[in-house]
């Protein structure tokens, strides 16, 4: 009975927690510029992320170890150092983008400039982490995050052409702006397969004291939760394609994206957009900040846990405090949240090899996982991720320069 409740809650939280600033920005751009043609990177990303999330949960349940912990333990400090530093830097940017998203939502509602909100928002995110326990944070932000289902409802109301949706699910070559097309495709993938998710998910499984008996729950949560979660991104692309594209709005600015829900919900659309954005970004910001603290504490073996009194894990708490403050400075000093988000999502995709390769090594460790190690399907999918991510890493850097502007 407890397992069924865990499963239901897990599915709800991963649906609610799926959507963040990266998904919003990339979906708005994809729909605004290429209508329904870029649904396929989203689908591909979702399929891959389901496998990766399932693996990180299974790994944590069987070994009682979160990923950064296990990588340092089993692959050694020297192997882990470079990926750890690179991913920390990327997470710093992601956190900045999420904080920027909350600040922009507040700007939409209040009219005050976005940078003004940087420090109050940082304080809010910090206070949340400082005071609340792990399950309180995860459950409250993710359940509120179900508000982002507004995009699915809006997409439904617009009655999009089914034929075009199905056509968009197959990869096709662009009719115009090839650099921009591939840049957005890469960013969509980076937004769906965010590296921080695996640290967060596996550390969360350890915080929740998962054991072998949670393998089924884990599978259900990752397949159903992530699967339905990605529907929100599909919804956002559809809405952008129906509402923004015909008006020639290409979303160079979050203000343009804010119009997305106003056709489906004439009166509430604007507020609904701001609220969805703020909540989705708040949830993600807490997750990214925690992931950074988890990864650092686990790398150095410090005491860690969101349910501990901060006096028992001072270094862990100061780690997320510093991360939040530092990332908020990006927004305070006037970095454009949308540009930061799009850049970060492409970088996310470029650093995927650092996530995928250790994954492949650990998930096949007979001594660690015994009968729960990867089968050929999971291995094939991870190999696809490894190869794809290396290709993306090579491709996305010139695209960053060409198509990012």
């Amino acid at each position: 009975m407890k397992k069924a409740a865990t499963l239901a809650l897990g599915i709800l939280t991963s649906v609610g927690g799926f959507f963040d600033v990266g998904n919003l920005a990339t979906a708005a751009q994809a729909g605004g510029v290429f209508r329904l043609q870029l649904l396929w990177p989203l689908l591909l990303g979702t399929l891959l992320v389901i496998f990766l999330v399932e693996m990180s949960g299974r790994f944590a349940a069987v070994t009682r170890q979160a990923l950064p912990d296990a990588i340092r333990t089993h692959l050694g400090f020297a192997t882990w150092l470079v990926p750890f530093l690179v991913l920390s830097l990327v997470h710093f940017l992601v956190l900045g983008a999420e904080i920027g998203g909350i600040c922009f939502a507040l700007h939409l509602v209040t009219g005050l400039p976005t940078p003004v909100w940087a420090l109050p928002v940082a304080a809010l995110v910090w206070l949340f982490l400082w005071r609340a326990s792990f399950s309180a944070i995860e459950n409250s932000t993710s359940l509120l995050g179900l508000l982002t289902l507004a995009f699915v409802v809006a997409a439904w109301q617009h009655r999009p052409p089914t034929g075009q949706i199905l056509a968009g699910m197959l990869p096709t070559l662009p009719h115009h702006d090839p650099a921009r097309y591939w840049f957005i495709a890469v960013s969509l993938l980076g937004a769906v397969i965010s590296p921080y998710m695996f640290y967060f998910y596996s550390s969360g499984a350890v915080e929740d004291k998962w054991d072998d008996s949670y393998i089924g729950v884990n599978r259900g949560v990752s397949v159903i939760g992530m699967g339905f979660g990605s529907l929100i991104s599909v919804g956002a692309i559809v809405v952008a394609a129906v509402v923004l594209a015909p008006r020639g709005i290409q979303v160079d600015d979050y203000h343009q994206a804010a119009l997305m829900l106003t056709t489906a919900f004439p009166f509430w659309g604007f507020v609904l957009f701001a609220a969805s954005m703020a909540i989705a970004c708040l949830g993600a910001a807490t997750e990214v900040a925690l992931s950074m603290a988890y990864a650092t504490a686990q790398t150095y073996g410090w005491n860690w846990g969101e349910d501990l009194d901060p006096r028992e894990d001072a270094r862990f708490c100061l780690m997320y405090t510093g991360a939040i403050l530092g990332s908020a400075l990006l927004i305070l000093f006037g970095v454009d949240p949308l540009k930061l988000t799009l850049l970060t999502m492409a970088v996310n995709a470029a650093v995927l090899p650092f996530v995928a390769i250790p994954f492949l090594l650990l998930m096949n460790d007979r001594k660690l996982l015994k009968e729960h190690r990867n089968g050929w399907i999971s291995n094939t999918v991870t190999l696809v991720v490894v190869v794809l991510s290396i290709v993306l890493a090579i491709v996305s850097i010139p695209l960053l320069i060409q198509g990012g502007s």
Partner: protein, 145 residues
């Protein structure tokens, strides 16, 4: 890989040093996480297999694994700004109580070792001055009060 036979303590009979011990999470007898096995020191013995003398913990030890120059640099920083009095915490192998796939348990209290110098300093100088949160002060916190 050297293998070693151990006594009846919670230590497996066959170990691979780099794989099973180096970089392993170290916990104290209360299972508080206190750091990682940053270095291993072996004793070479005439005519007998080498054996582990002690494990080492500390940023300086980690830095040494990357390069001796980095080690000197990190140690310089520690001397100037560090809270830790000694660069390396050395735990004799005889203190090891248990070794599993996810931790190495030492028969010590983390708070009494230099590995917690920073943790203690931050708690007394920073955390102490911020109002306490609601969590964590259930059964765990009560004990400490």
């Amino acid at each position: 890989m050297p293998r070693q036979k151990e006594n009846g303590k919670g230590i497996p009979d066959e170990l691979e040093l780099a794989r099973d011990i180096l970089d392993q999470q170290v916990v104290d007898r209360e299972e508080t996480k206190m750091g990682r096995v940053d270095g291993l020191v072996l004793e070479l013995r005439e005519g007998r297999p080498p054996r582990i003398d002690h494990i080492e913990m500390g940023a300086v030890v980690l830095a040494r694994r990357l390069s001796p120059r980095l080690e000197r640099w990190v140690d310089g920083w520690r001397r100037r700004f560090g809270v830790r009095k000694v660069a390396r915490y050395k735990a004799p192998w005889s203190d090891v109580q248990e070794l599993t796939s996810y931790h190495l348990k030492l028969d010590v209290g983390a708070l009494d070792t230099p590995t917690f110098d920073w943790e203690r300093w931050l708690r007394d100088h920073v955390i102490q001055h911020i109002p306490r949160p609601l969590k964590g002060n259930g059964e765990e916190g009560e004990k400490k009060e």
